[in-house]
Subunit: 492 residues, 2 copies
Amino acid sequence: MSLPTAFDALMAYERETQALARIAGRLSWDQETVMPRGSAGQRAEESGAMESVLHARRTNPQIGEWLEQADPPDADGAAQLRLIRRSYERSVKVPADLASALARLTSRSQGIWAGARAADDVAAFLPTLAEVVKLKREEAAALAGGGDLYDALVDDFEPNGKAAEFAAMFGEMRPGLVALRERALNAPQVTPLSARFDADTQMALGGELAETFGYDLTRGRIDRAVHPFSSGSGEDVRITTRTAEDDPFNCLYSTIHEVGHACYEQGIDPKFLLTPAGQGVSMGVHESQSRIYENQLGRSRAFCGYLYGRMRDLFGDFGVADEDTFYALVNRVHRGYIRTEADEVQYNLHIMLRFDLERALFANDLQVGDLEAAWNDRFRADFGYDVNRPANGVLQDVHWSVGLFGYFPTYSLGNVYAGCLHEALRRELPDLDDQLSRGELSAATGWLREHVQRHGGRHEPKEVITLACGTAPTAAPLMSYLETKFGALSGA
Amino acid sequence: MSLPTAFDALMAYERETQALARIAGRLSWDQETVMPRGSAGQRAEESGAMESVLHARRTNPQIGEWLEQADPPDADGAAQLRLIRRSYERSVKVPADLASALARLTSRSQGIWAGARAADDVAAFLPTLAEVVKLKREEAAALAGGGDLYDALVDDFEPNGKAAEFAAMFGEMRPGLVALRERALNAPQVTPLSARFDADTQMALGGELAETFGYDLTRGRIDRAVHPFSSGSGEDVRITTRTAEDDPFNCLYSTIHEVGHACYEQGIDPKFLLTPAGQGVSMGVHESQSRIYENQLGRSRAFCGYLYGRMRDLFGDFGVADEDTFYALVNRVHRGYIRTEADEVQYNLHIMLRFDLERALFANDLQVGDLEAAWNDRFRADFGYDVNRPANGVLQDVHWSVGLFGYFPTYSLGNVYAGCLHEALRRELPDLDDQLSRGELSAATGWLREHVQRHGGRHEPKEVITLACGTAPTAAPLMSYLETKFGALSGA
């Protein structure tokens, strides 16, 4: 009997940490779905205790010693070490008192933000937001080691993502999107839905679509929650959705979107179960899966034809004359203020606005006190009309209140990646539209599993997309897809 | 600013441990209710990791140092120290390799037992059971420090419970119970239910009864599971039940039983939240609450009158002529093999059988190889007919397969305690039957909350009952209650 190697000892330790992290994740799922409403106080203590355990494990100096001695047996092992080193170095760079001050502040500030948003009272939130930005700047400085502060924050969500690259890419996309938005809004508008759609039937159809898109319900489940989300990795990946009886697309497309996230986690090679590589590699790649499922596949003309039929089967005549009208309705571009309700064209404009503002905050080119004016100016420039109230403007998203700076650009990065993957997928499956029109998704999702999902965290994010597509990602495929699709829909 | 005292530091540490233990408990709830069936492998690792964290915390030598220095500020503090000392001393007495061997074995042996039970194959289970008994003997020896092995195991479930005392008490009860059983079986039998009862309506009525009995659903929830159970403490106490369309009493009385457990946990003084005293003090006292809710209150003639009316409201005419027939049906004594399906009279005979056998195993008066014969002989003696198959005999309960020796007697102890509390409650509330006949439970459950539940772990178990009743507990009130009730039902 020989002693375990440093590599084996480290991996065994990481496996236990991963198992505990899965428990912490499920605790959040529980909180958003089934927790009794009177349990919030005790739950806060439970979550805090769990975070303490995880923080102590992640900063354990023994990890540093193992990392010095560990000899990876193969390429997978080398990838695991790279991920462990990244996480460990990040954890030990942030002083414990700063980490705990940030945790306390952001847990408090979320409530202050929610109250301010409900009251449309920007001033009530700004002092807290200023504190959050101040502590996040300190954290970024600790992480950046002299480098760019904002990039240090981006790195948490998109490893090696660089704001300058995003900015260049977004700069190329923006004029085309603004023009597309204008063309769509000036075209004849389709009449919105006016029927009622039974909520339980929406959930039943959502469950059917989830399985159609490859979600394995023996290792997952679908519940209702206030906000749709996907939670978990490996053998237990759960999603939520929501229902509104006047808007079935909210439930159905939220479901398909979350199924994209969930299929990524479920599709990771089982050999990576409960290891650092056993999770989606970045928010951008994650979002590429949810977006291609929801948009390029789910909102395609071919699939809309299939879905129209299923909805007629289940809901009867709901006042939409034919497949083409249904397709136009599913892809309706209309005036609005809210990012999460935006169509494929305007969504990216919402993101670019937030990206530029938060980047300016961390470059000290913008002060928190000037944030609302900057938001409103930029909104008018890109969308052509004024923000009508702060809840629809600078107060609309939770992200900043909980310190999520550097997260927003990964949504549009996901769209860009989805555009690249969609182009490659179409090349690979010339009869994709035939399949989609029959509600047949297995070849498309199988290709994504094989070329993206199964790798988990094994490659760097950009490398995953490059390997899948054969070329490095650019915004061109997404822009060409959007211009073709929305050009046609606008009758151009 | 002064340093925290040893007492404060210890309590802060315990609070975090309690919070983590609540998470571990909720993980089990999740597994029994909502976990996808394909997640069992990952879940086993998660549970193991959580147990490792808890074990490390509970055996942390720092606890021993704090205990030496800690000075309790008041009587509550002294009770907390007593509970912490008991838990710490127990944890450090068992060698880590024995604890982990037991955890591995009992996790494996449960599956072997389930397979053997399904196949009625005692021989397939005995070698594993012999291993379990062997390791539990080692554990008991480590805990007992020269004292009685079986008492050392009982102590985990009923602190300071002594098998000799149980044996004396059970010895007094047994002849009376055997005689009652015989009288009831020789009396005219009531016709069983033959109607169907919609499962969702059963659940709705169960929810209504749960609230009637004082369960606070803002800090709890009711789900379906294979086995009814109660889970959690403090602000998040959840119960499960099950439904069978031909047997509504299974759902309704399981619900009331679990509500008794849940109300105990919910009724504990909030000052004990997330502390060692913030949980029910023993299995016996816990079972006294579930049993008095289910039996002395829920199966009383007066409450049965009320429940009959509610069931007629919801299910229409279900073929039961009147309240008296309904009452006789709810309290039907009939031949059967299964403990969990037994009535109030025969239930205790099932327990005494198990208690005597497991006690003999640990006294080395009985060998595992002779267990089935001993079970069958004793069953014939107490019940008057033969066990028809092992699944209905020695293989029926999960307890021994997972090493739960010393647990069974606490069920009957709970019945005895419920008898004492019921006698005191009747003295205190002379018009209890009037209230029960109107479905009015708040005075009864309020008395139990005030005199038993709110104390949590503050007093020793027997002391809780003594304080509530004014005299030390004996079996006499239970026996007198059973003889009166079942004597009348048998037409004697």
